[in-house]
Symmetry: C2
Subunit: 380 residues, 2 copies
C-alpha cells in the first residue's frame, strides 16, 4: 500500500469511512479509474474475455484491489492499485468467463490477500453497474449493500490538483480540435472526412486512439436535430455545422461545442447564434460558488427565452473521469456550485427551418466566478 | 407483436421455452441486438442517461419489450421489438438515473403492458451484465434466475440467412480495408494516420462512425507483442505491420488479419510467415462439420509447431452480433463445428527478434468444409 495516498483514492476511502462501510466495490469504469488510476479504453465496453465489469475494491484506509481479466493485468499493474486479482485463461478459450470472474471475487472477499475485507458490514456499491452475481457473493457474506452514488458524487465534485491539470489539457486539445474543425469542414467533403481530420488532432497529440463522444452534424436538418455523429453527408456551401467535440484523454474527458457556417450565414441563423452567445455569456456572468446548478440553468434559459429561443437539453454538466458528472446544470438541480468544480455550459437553439446552434465552453468555478478553460472562437 | 417472427427472435423464444422459463431478460448489447434488432453504438458503453444496461425482455412466444433511456427511444422504436419502455427525463438533469431505470423495470414486470410477464417462475438472465437491482426486482416477484449463457450460445451458434448476409458484407468490407491498409501504410506516416485511412473505408461505405476492435501495430517490437491499437509510431522501411481489422457494421462484426512488410522482409520473417500461412491452410483443410473446435485448434497449432512456432492466443472464434462468439477455437473446446457457423481462423507467430505475423480469414463452415468469405491477399 502506498505511503501517500493519491487524493482521489483518499476521497473514496473517506467516503467508505463516512458511510461506516467495510469497503467499497466500484464497477463503473470512471469510478474504477478515479479510485485506482487504471486506464483502459471503454470503446468496446466489457471485453469478451471478461465475466463482468472490472472491479475496484477500496478499504476505509485506502487500500485498493483490482479484479480484471488477464488481458488487462498490465494496465492494472501500471495503476495505483495496491493489489491485482486477475482471472481467465491465456488461450482465450473461455468467452465471457462469468465463473472465473465470480471465483476471483470470491477469493478476494474470502481474504486471499489478507484479512482486510473480512467481517460482515455495509459495502458501498454502484447499482447501475454492479452485476447480480457479485451482489450475491456480498450478501452471502452478510454484507449489506449501500448505494455509493451520492457518496461518490460528493467525493468527486470538486476536482483535485491532478484532475484540474488533466482537464486543462483536455480543454487545450478540444480547443485545438475546434480550430481544426473550421479548417477541414469544407464544401464537397463529407462530415466523416472532416471529423477524421479533427480526430487526428487529439489522437496524434496523445499518441493513440482516444475515445470520443459529442456530435458532428451539418446542414439545416441535421443541426436542427440537436445530436448526431458524423455521417457521409457531403458538406455544402451555406451549411451550418455543429462540432460538439468530447474526447477522453488520459482518463479525463474534454468537451466543447462551436457552430459555424460554410460561407454566409442566413439572417435567422445569425440572430439565433447571437441569442445563444448571449445566453452563454449570461451563464458565465452568473456562474460562481454558491449559485445552485438549477439557478444557473434558469439564468441561461431565461436569457435565451427573452430572444424567443429554447433548447431541449441540459444547460451543462460537470466533467472529469466521466463525460457527464454531478451536478448536471439542469432545471431543479438544487446543488450549489463550489470553487474548484469544472463544468460545461452549452446552451443551444434549434429550428427545423433555420438549423441549430450550440456553443459550449469548459469553465472552472473560481472564487470570483467563471474561469474559462476553453480557448477557441465561438464565431458563427 | 409481429405475425412472423424474425428467426433470431424465434430462437431466443425457443430457448425460453426449452428452459421452461416465464421469460428472458437480456442485458448484453449483442443479445439485445440479436433478440430485437435494436442497433445502438457500444463505443461509449452504458450512456450517462442510463441507469443500467438496455434490457430486452422476451416471452416464450417471442413477444419482446425493450427498456431504454429516452435518448434511445428512437433506436428502440426502429427495432423489431413489440414494445418500448422508456425512462428518464428530457432535460438530462438526472445522471445515471438508477431509480428511473428500476421503476421502468418494475412497471414492466408488474404488467404495465399486459399480463404477459406475470406469474412466478424461471427467468433466463445474463449474469455477466444483469445488474443487481434488476435481479432483486425479479427475486422479489418470486422469479428464479437461470443463467441464459448456454441457451443463448446454442441458439446463436449457427447463423440465420439474414446473419450470413450481414457477415458476408462484413467480410467484404474488412477485405476492402485490408487492401487499403497496404496502400496507406507507408514509411514516414504514423500508424494512426494509416489507420485513419483504413477506418475511412468502412465508415465511408456504411455512412457513419463504426465501432472497431482489432490491432494495428508496426515494427519488430510492436508486432512481436501480439496486440495493440494504432499509435503515433512512425512507419519505417522494412517494418512488419499486423493489420487486424474488426469493424462492427450494421450490428455484425467482421474480422480479419494480414501481415505485410514495408519493403523487403527478412529471411526469418519470411520463414515465420510461411509457417503461419501453412498453419492457416492446415486449419482450412481440417475445418468441416463434426470436427470439434478443440481438434481444429490442435491441427493448426501442430502444423505450426512442426516449423518451430507457437502463439499465445486462441486459434480462432465464431463471430456474429458479438466480435467473439461461441465456440472459441481453442485447446480443449469440445464443441463440434456445425454447418452454417461462421468462424475466424487466426494463427500467428511472434518473436522479439523477428517481429510478429498473424493471418486471419473469415470462413463459413460448409457441408463439405471451409468456405472462405474473406477476399484479401495474405502475402507478406
Amino acid at each position: 500500500m502506498s505511503t501517500t495516498l493519491d487524493e482521489r483514492t483518499a476521497r473514496v476511502a473517506a467516503a467508505v469511512r463516512s458511510a461506516e462501510a467495510s469497503f467499497a466495490v466500484l464497477s463503473g469504469y470512471d469510478a474504477v479509474f478515479y479510485a485506482t488510476g487504471m486506464l483502459v479504453s471503454q470503446e468496446l465496453g466489457v471485453p469478451f474475455v471478461a465475466g463482468g465489469p472490472d472491479l475496484a475494491v477500496v478499504s476505509p484506509e485506502g487500500e485498493t484491489w483490482l479484479v480484471v481479466p488477464r488481458m488487462r493485468a498490465g494496465a492494472a499493474r501500471a495503476s495505483r492499485a495496491d493489489h491485482v486479482v486477475e482471472y481467465g485463461d491465456d488461450t482465450l478459450g473461455a468467452l465471457a468467463p462469468a465463473t472465473a470472474y465470480a471465483a476471483a471475487v470470491r477469493g478476494l472477499l474470502d481474504g486471499a490477500p489478507g484479512e482486510a475485507l473480512g467481517g460482515a458490514g455495509r459495502v458501498l456499491v454502484q447499482p447501475d453497474s454492479l452485476t447480480a452475481p457479485v451482489a450475491e457473493l456480498l450478501r452471502e457474506r452478510a454484507h449489506r449493500l449501500v448505494d455509493a452514488t451520492d457518496a461518490l458524487r460528493t467525493a468527486r465534485k470538486v476536482k483535485t490538483a491532478e484532475e484540474l491539470a488533466a482537464l486543462r489539457r483536455c480543454a487545450g486539445l478540444t480547443s485545438a480540435a475546434q480550430r481544426r474543425a473550421r479548417e477541414v469542414a469544407l464544401p464537397g467533403r463529407t462530415e466523416l472526412e472532416a471529423f477524421a481530420d479533427v480526430r487526428a488532432v487529439w489522437d496524434g497529440d496523445v499518441g493513440h486512439r482516444c475515445e470520443v463522444t459529442g456530435d458532428f452534424v451539418s446542414g439545416v436538418e441535421r443541426t436542427a436535430a440537436v445530436v448526431g455523429w458524423a455521417t457521409d453527408r457531403v458538406l455544402r456551401e451555406g451549411d451550418p455545422v455543429i462540432a460538439d467535440l468530447a474526447p477522453r484523454l488520459d482518463g479525463y474527458w474534454g468537451d466543447s461545442a462551436a457552430t459555424f457556417v460554410l460561407g454566409e450565414p442566413t439572417a435567422r441563423l445569425r440572430a439565433m447564434h447571437a441569442a445563444v452567445r448571449g445566453a452563454l455569456d449570461a451563464g458565465l456572468t452568473a456562474l460562481r460558488p454558491g449559485v445552485t446548478a438549477g439557478a444557473l440553468d434558469d439564468v441561461v434559459r431565461a436569457a435565451l427565452a427573452r430572444d424567443g429561443y429554447a433548447y431541449p437539453h441540459h444547460t451543462g454538466h460537470s466533467v472529469g473521469a466521466a463525460s457527464h458528472e454531478f451536478p448536471t446544470i439542469a432545471p431543479g438541480v438544487d446543488v450549489p456550485l463550489e470553487e474548484g468544480m469544472v463544468v460545461l455550459l452549452e446552451p443551444g437553439a434549434y429550428d427545423p427551418e433555420v438549423g441549430g446552434v450550440r456553443l459550449e465552453w469548459m469553465v472552472r468555478v473560481g472564487a470570483d466566478g467563471a474561469e474559462v478553460m476553453s480557448d477557441f472562437a465561438l464565431d458563427l
